[in-house]
Symmetry: C2
Subunit: 212 residues, 2 copies
């Protein structure tokens, strides 16, 4: 969480915040992605209240002015943090899963394994939990999280429809499977009583078992 | 989230932070619970970084000095925030559920309904999500959350043991049911595609269905 963002420019002392924006940006060719990554890092390590232009400029060792070359204001940056996360985590994910397997039972197994795919899964879970916490108190973040949950749920529902379940039951099964993914990524300390392989094998079976 | 904590003393301007602790506390008979409640409010509305003695003293309109009448330091307060949450949310909860029903199928229904019990459930979910976010970066919070999850899971596992499932399967079923409770309390925006009553009825049935 304390890892610094890689800078394309050599380290230098920040100049005065009052420096003219155009002049400042001419000296600091940071991309919007650098600001978005830094904002995401600060969100994860300190919470949304700390994601401020002055904090980020200090972290990136550039002037505040250079920020306004890329973003209208803080809200513009926050909106782009949300859109970037949504694009990376949701759209790319569902696209990958859809092209990797055609067998729906394999797709169920794939969904179940999501929280356990190494370091990138841990990082993704940290970002997502920070976003959920932020979404509790911010309607814009709330909407992006809700839309993201809805599109993931719609994707998982399709898997259960392919397995032959009716529409409502497919949605219920999708919600339960997705709940397991969300909770497992948050409750990494609950491993002791039950190895995750055991848990996943059980869920994989039960979630495809017809009701009596 | 902006509701002020009720104060037992009349409003007055804060005195200097340097005032002698004993003199300050003599004028401000706040209880430790008042500080703990205020700290929890700030945690929920601004995140753990904002839970600082100066912020809380200003909010409660007392001197910083009076804080040290009740707590050794900020870490002592944070430890008590965690212990208070754990006691209220976990121990009292399991005690209530255990005495309310003896029929394990009723207990399953009771667990499923937890995220939907009005305003207090919404508030509890907000606090819990803020604590989970904090626990990602703090080992003390992490330990309390892990222990709390473990004791809830142990309780729910007992229900499935009563229903006749073996130890490992009871634990897997408990984890899946608890996942649904945790995720449902976080994903309140996912209602549109599937009413929660429908979802709960389905989970209640499936979670008690034997594997084929």
């Amino acid at each position: 969480m304390t890892a610094d963002v890689a800078l394309p420019t050599p380290r230098r002392r920040p100049t005065k915040a009052k420096a003219a924006p155009v002049e400042a940006t001419a000296r600091t060719p940071l991309t919007p992605e650098t600001w978005i990554d830094a904002a995401t890092d600060v969100l994860v390590s300190h919470g949304i209240d700390s994601v401020r232009v002055d904090v980020l400029a200090k972290r990136l060792q550039v002037t505040r002015g250079s920020f306004y070359w890329h973003f209208k204001d803080r809200n513009d940056l926050l909106a782009q943090v949300l859109q970037t996360w949504r694009r990376k985590s949701t759209e790319e994910l569902t696209r990958r899963l859809e092209t990797a397997h055609t067998d729906p039972a394999e797709q169920v197994r794939d969904v179940l394994s999501l929280p356990f795919r190494g370091r990138s899964a841990v990082r993704a879970a940290q970002i997502e939990l920070a976003l959920r916490d932020w979404a509790r108190r911010d309607p814009v973040a709330r909407q992006v999280m809700d839309e993201s949950d809805a599109s993931r749920l719609a994707y998982i529902s399709q898997i259960f429809s392919s397995l032959g379940f009716g529409v409502l039951e497919a949605r219920s099964r999708a919600f339960l499977l997705y709940s397991h993914v969300v909770a497992a990524s948050q409750m990494t300390g609950a491993e002791a009583a039950l190895p995750r392989e055991e848990r996943n094998r059980f869920v994989e079976q039960l979630i495809q078992t017809p009701l009596r």
